[in-house]
Each structure stands twice: as C-alpha cells, then as structure tokens.
C-alpha cells in the first residue's frame, strides 16, 4: 500500500462515513458505524506514521483537474448557502464578507485559472504526520464519545430538534477536511479545506438552533470569513506575481525566501489568527462553548483551531527575523497573558477551558512568530501536548456536566467522592496542563530557554513568567475544588456509558504516555523536520531528560503511599472553631441557627475581570495588527 493511497483514504473515507450518517436514522446502526470508522481512521493514521516517518518530505503529483473544478463549484454553492442564511437571519457582516470573498474567488477563477499548472498537490512530512495522528486518534476518539454524549444531550434537552444524523455527518466531513488541510501542498486546496472547516464549525455551533447559538455561530462565521478574505487576497497576490501558479505550492513558497513570501505569509497568518481565535478575535471561541461538548473538544481545542496555528507554524521560517513576524508573535504573546488572566475570573468550566485554549494557542503563535529553530520545536511540542490534555479536559467536563447538571466549577466540589474515576482523570488532565514534569511545563521550560536567545526575547519571557503563573492559579484552584473530600456524598458516576469510559481511559493514558515518550517523538519526528528547514535542530539535554523521567516516575509511584496509611488512621473533623457539625458542613451558628458552610474559590473579578481585560487585549492586538498591515502595505507598494 503506497503512502499516497493511505493519504487519499484518510481524506476520502470519512466522507463515506459522513454519507452513511446523513442517511441513517436509527441510533444503533450509527454507533457501530462510528466505532468501526473511528478504529479504521485511527489505524490508518498510525500506518501513515509507520510508513512515513523515516522518509522525510514526500511530494505527490496528482492531476489537479477535475478536483480543482469540483472544489470551486462546491465553494460557490456554499457561498450561496451562507448568503441565503445570512440574509434570512439578517446578519449584515456575514453577508458583506461572503459577498466579498465570493467576489475574490470568482475574480481568481475567471482571470487566472487557465494559466495555472500546479502538479505537486499533496505532500507528507513529519509535521503533517503529527497533525494526522492528532486528527486521526484524538478526533476519532471524540467521535466515539460523541455518540453516548449526544444521546444524553437530547434526553436532557427535549426542546432541541434531533438532527443527529446531520451532526455526525458534519463531524466526519470535518475530519476529512482536516486531513485534506494537513496533506495539501496546493494552497488553493488548503483554502478549500480551510473554508470547509469554517462551515462545519458554523453548522455545529448553531446545532441547538437557540438564539444564542445562532448568534454565536454567525459571530464565528464572520470572523473566520474575514480570515478567509485575507487568505484569498494572499492567493491573488501570489498568482499576480507568478501566473503559472508555481508559488501556490506550499513547499516551494516557503523555500523561496522572505522577499517573495512575506506578504502572503502575513496575510495567511492573519487568517490563522482568526481561526485560532487569538485576540482580537477571541470572542468567537468563547461564544462557541454553547455547542455540545464534543464539538468544543474536537473543533475548538484539538483540531480546527490547531489548523490555524498549523499554518502559522508552517510559515514560521518565512516570518523569523522580520518585524511582521515579531508583531504576530506579540499578538500571540499578548493573547497568552491576557487570556490566562481572564481565565482566573471565570467560574464556568467550559469558559475556563476556552480561555486556556486561546492562551495556549497564543503561546504557540508567539513561538512561531519569532520562528527560530528551537522555538519551532517548542511550538510543535505545545501543539501535541495541548491537543491531548485539553480534549481530555473537555470530555471530562462534558460527562461531569451531564451528571451534576451544571458547568459551574463551584458545583464541582467534592467530585473525588461523587465521581472518583472522573475526578482522577480530570486531575491528570489538569496536571498535564501546568504541572512539572508533564508536557506543557516541558514546553514552557523549553520556550523560556529558546526565547532567551531570540531577538526581543525578553518581552516574551516576561509574558511567559506572568501569564504562566496565572495558569498555575486557575488550574490549581479548580484542582483543589475537585479533590476536596466532602463525606457522605453519593457516588453518581456509575451511569456513565462504557464507550465513554473507554475513550476517557485512552485519553488519560495518552497524556501520561506521550509525556513519557516525548523524547522519542522529538527525535523521530520533530527534530528531522526542523533540521530539514533550518539546518540545525534543538533538543533538551540528556541530563535534563533523565531527571524529568525520574520525576515523572516518582510522581506516578507516590499515590501508592496511600496504602501505607490505611491502618491505624485516626480521623477527625476539620476545625470549625469546635462548633457542632452535622453531616456535610452544616454547623450550629449563632442564635442556634443551623447554617451550611459554602466554600468558594477566589475569582478576583475586579483585577482580572473579563470585560476590562478583553478591552485591553482587543485594543492592543488591533493596534499591533494595524501596524503590521501598514508595514505590509509598505512592502507591497
């Protein structure tokens, strides 16, 4: 089986599953088909790794016709559909943007397409393998989880129309589009898959068809369309410079140097910024949390937004050393710091996760924008670790929400008693986000060591130091909330379905395993990729690696100490001034009144409030982007 066949399978097979989903009505057939498809996709992604990891960059020549014509046709149909929807819901901005984008598309097709001869349309290199693994493994796991989740979802929300066939169909179309995105070398194809993911996100956010969901879906659509317009502008620019379309090959564009590639790189990176929901475009991701949790897990934390940073990381060699690259990095860095601060003041679990995602994406972009070889290494590591840990967190929060009926962190107190296994998994997921020696800390550590040798690195180190401590704060207080031992609470997690447990167990294991084997991933996939581009590569020193491994093993052994303390333990109630306490923190207060103790975390909304910091972030980042735009204009003219 050739690698090309594997790639085509990954792009086309999910479409077949999507077709089945769209026509099937019953749930049982659906579950079996999804599970089988998920296993198939996972296995094939793994095969791509096995057959491709040692081959370096492979480029596949495929005849672009009739694929390109089909793509153009689909894009026009979708544009018409969005136009219709935009007019029906009276969303002026969407209507304007889709008309603008469709206009650019038509202009491109009519004026330039005859002269285009692009042969190298698909490719595979180590970075694509990494992205494919993330999409194939984590994506399929989330689809399997989604079956059980959506059943409970419709059980709880009988007012929402059951359009699950559409839901799952779009999920698989989305997977196909993501595979297409990371395997495409032809920028036109990348743009096509990019737009498909935008539409999938739009349809999935608006799934519940409530007014809030509809508004948020159009917000996401408008911001992503804005990015799409910038993408289209970049394509037109490239084809004006070279009408044969050779510059539309990604690998050729990146290696042709800054003079040629800078302008389109910045425009496409702007599209990446909108898709990755960095400030000033972060509101769409926060608003997208109204969607069912599998959507948040798949699109809005591990895959679609990763497409945004994927394209920016691809262009990092072009951006490195330039002022525009530095500005993009500053946008990322500002987003990281401010989103981390805002997350402190949020008590809605999904919003905390959303802001944490935005912050981490900002950090990845900050590394990519400065673009030295060791920062690229950090960026790719961050992508991997974040995708795994964050999707685990989203799925856990989804399950918890269905059991306790609330997304508020304050209602998750004592989860270790009420849902012990789930609380442990959340603990590991959160540890994976901010505790040494897990992945994200490794990345932050490597980031500091990399920024220190980069130009203007001191600004980014300051951002990392302050933003990083903010992340410690909000994760720790959430962790503390769920491990508080509130006695006499009933265990409510036995009703969770088996498939969900399987998915959650696998993801939890992945968090730990990837942390253990990351030196292997680095040497097999990441380092050759960077070596290829920059001629030198980065790695953590051997001594540090062994120390971290020892710490991780120590950390995994420590919980066994609980066995030693079981005998002869004496228990006492917590100190409440000696007051008579009954049951769950109900104490006898003054005047003989029985009161209940309520402990809540600090949210410090006057220091870290969402509105104020959002205002700060949006204005700062708009200023930076406008500055970059002015510089770009200077280059063009």
């Amino acid at each position: 089986m050739s690698i090309l066949q594997l790639l085509l399978y990954l792009i086309l097979f999910p479409l077949i599953t999507a077709l089945f989903m769209l026509v099937s009505r019953k749930d049982t057939g659906r579950k079996a088909i999804i599970q089988l498809s998920a296993i198939a996709i996972g296995i094939v992604s793994f095969l791509v790794l096995l057959f491709g990891y040692y081959r370096g960059t492979l480029i596949f020549s495929i005849d672009p016709d009739p694929v390109s014509q089909i793509m153009f046709f689909i894009e026009l149909v979708l544009a018409a559909y969005i136009l219709y929807l935009g007019i029906r819901h009276r969303k002026l901005l969407t209507v304007f943007l889709i008309l603008f984008q469709a206009g650019l598309l038509l202009y491109f097709e009519l004026v330039f397409s005859e002269n285009l001869h692009i042969g190298n349309n698909l490719f595979l290199d180590q970075f694509s393998i990494i992205m494919a693994l993330i999409i194939g493994i984590i994506g399929s796991l989330i689809c399997v989880y989604a079956v059980g989740y959506m059943e409970t979802y419709h059980h709880h929300h009988t007012e929402i129309r059951d359009r699950r066939n559409l839901f799952f169909g779009i999920l698989f179309i989305f997977l196909s589009a993501m595979f297409g995105l990371v395997f495409s070398n032809n920028l036109l194809w990348v743009f096509f898959f990019w737009e498909i993911t935008t539409i999938c996100s739009f349809l999935l956010i608006g799934y519940s068809q409530s007014e809030e969901a509809t508004n948020n879906s159009f917000l996401a659509l408008s911001m992503n369309l804005l990015g799409g317009v910038a993408f289209m502008a970049a394509l037109i620019y490239l084809v004006i410079i070279d009408p044969t379309g050779q510059l539309l090959s990604l690998n050729f564009l990146i290696s042709s140097g800054k003079a040629v590639a800078l302008v389109p790189a910045v425009l496409i990176c702007f599209a990446g910024i909108t898709k990755a929901a960095l400030m000033p475009f972060s509101s769409w991701l926060v608003g997208a949390m109204v969607a069912p949790t599998p959507v948040s897990a798949l699109l809005h934390s591990s895959t679609m937004v990763k497409a945004g940073v994927y394209i920016i990381v691809r262009f990092a060699p072009v951006l490195s050393g330039t002022t525009e690259g530095l500005i993009i990095a500053l946008v990322g860095g500002t987003t990281f710091a401010l989103a981390s601060f805002i997350a402190i003041s949020q008590n809605n679990a999904k919003k905390v996760l959303a802001y944490s995602t935005i912050a981490n994406l900002g950090l990845i972009v900050a590394c990519a924008g400065v673009g030295t070889y060791n920062l690229m290494w950090v960026a790719i590591l961050l992508i991997i670790f974040h995708a795994i840990a964050k999707s685990l967190m989203f799925l856990c929060v989804g399950t918890v929400e269905h059991r306790i009926g609330s997304r508020n962190i304050e209602d998750m107190g004592g989860l270790i008693v009420r849902m012990p296994k789930l609380a442990m998994m959340m603990f590991i997921g959160m540890a994976g986000m901010f505790l040494a020696p897990f992945g994200m800390v490794i990345s932050k550590w490597a980031a500091i060591e990399a920024f220190i040798t980069a130009p203007f690195g001191l600004i980014f180190i300051a951002i990392l130091a302050f933003g990083g401590s903010a992340t410690v704060f909000f994760w720790s207080k959430w962790m503390g909330k769920i491990i508080s031992v509130m006695r006499d609470e009933p265990v409510i997690e036995d009703t969770v379905k088996k498939e969900k447990w399987v998915v959650l167990y696998i993801l939890t294991a992945l968090v730990v395993i990837v942390c253990l084997i990351f030196p292997l991933i680095s040497s097999v996939l990441i380092e050759p990729f960077i070596l290829n581009i920059y001629g030198q590569t980065a790695r953590l020193s051997q001594a540090n690696l062994s120390i971290m491994l020892m710490m991780l093993c120590l950390l995994l052994i420590m919980p066994f100490s609980l066995l030693f303390y079981r005998k002869g333990a004496h228990y006492a109630p917590p100190y409440m001034g000696g007051r008579p306490v009954e049951g769950h923190m109900r104490f006898s207060g003054s005047m003989g009144v029985t009161r209940e103790l309520v402990l809540s975390n600090y949210y410090m909304t006057d220091l870290f409030g969402e509105d104020r910091l959002f205002m700060v972030g949006t204005s700062l980042c708009w200023a930076l982007l406008l500055f970059a735009g002015i510089l770009l204009l200077g280059v063009i003219l």
């Binding site: 002869g568 004496h570 006492a572 100190y575 000696g578 007051r579 008579p580």
Partner: protein, 153 residues
C-alpha cells in the same frame, strides 16, 4: 527521651470565663514570663496542640464545643483547668446556665485554682502537666505495641 517536655504546645479555650484568667494566660507569653523559652507556643487550633488550657465553666452552649475541640487534639494530650470557674464553677456555680467545672464534660489532668489564677501558678500547672503528658505518651506507646503484636498473632 521524650520531646513532648521540650516543646509543649498549648491550645487556650475560653469556655465562659470573665476573661480574668485568659489575660493571665496571655500574660505568660509576654516578655516578663516568656514561656516560649521553654518551647511553649500558644497555637490556634486543636490539631497542633498538646495541652488544652481551659478557663471558665461549662454551660449548655459550649458543652459540645468543648467536647469537639478536645476530640480534635491528637494523642497524647492533657487538659488543664485554669481558675476556680473551670475547676468547679467558681462563684457562678449555682447559676441556672452553668453545668459546673469542665471535668463534667472532659477528663481534666491538672487543676489550677485561683480567681484569677496567677501566671506563676499557671506555669506551675503546665510543668506538672508535662510530667503527666510523658506518662500518657508511654502508655500510648505500649498500647500501640500490644495492638500491633495482637494484629501479628
């Protein structure tokens, strides 16, 4: 060699005292008497304490509080009743709300009488209590030894 004698930590609780004895207890911490030179610290919560100093007598409201606080002190522990109110109810003995001295509710090891008890008497009482504490510690050690031997058999 026990270290309980070298580092006894107090917990001071005012049951229903007029604060006369409490002021004398706190006076013991000041530079004039400076009990910290014996390693004595006035801790804030029972879980850190060895010696439970109680002033004032028991009434219906603080009866359960006394018991709760006493139970939250880890073994080995001693209780010192400071002042005549804690010992037997003092001049408030026949009031309608007073149940009597604190030995009605928790076991007392040392009684320091006085109204108010003088700091020197309080320190003397604490020193006496340290000897009792040592006995309790030995008893606790042999008890756990026999318990472990019983488990082994």
């Amino acid at each position: 060699m026990t270290y309980l004698k070298k580092s006894p930590w107090l917990l001071h609780y005012d049951a229903s005292s007029c604060n006369g004895c409490d002021i004398e207890v706190l006076a013991a911490l000041t530079p004039i008497y400076d009990v910290e030179r014996f390693g004595i610290i006035n801790t804030g919560n029972p879980k850190h304490a060895d010696i439970f100093l109680v002033t004032g007598s028991v009434n219906t409201q603080n009866k359960q509080v006394l018991i709760n606080t006493y139970e939250q002190i880890p073994e080995p522990k001693v209780v010192i009743a400071i002042g005549i109110c804690a010992t037997s109810g003092g001049i408030f003995r026949e009031c309608y709300n007073i149940l009597g001295g604190i030995d009605k509710v928790i076991p007392v090891d040392v009684y320091v009488t006085g109204c108010a008890a003088r700091p020197e008497s309080i320190i003397d009482g604490v020193v006496t209590a340290l000897g009792i504490l040592e006995q309790k510690r030995l008893a606790m050690k042999t008890k756990t030894k026999t318990a472990r031997a019983a488990d082994a058999r």
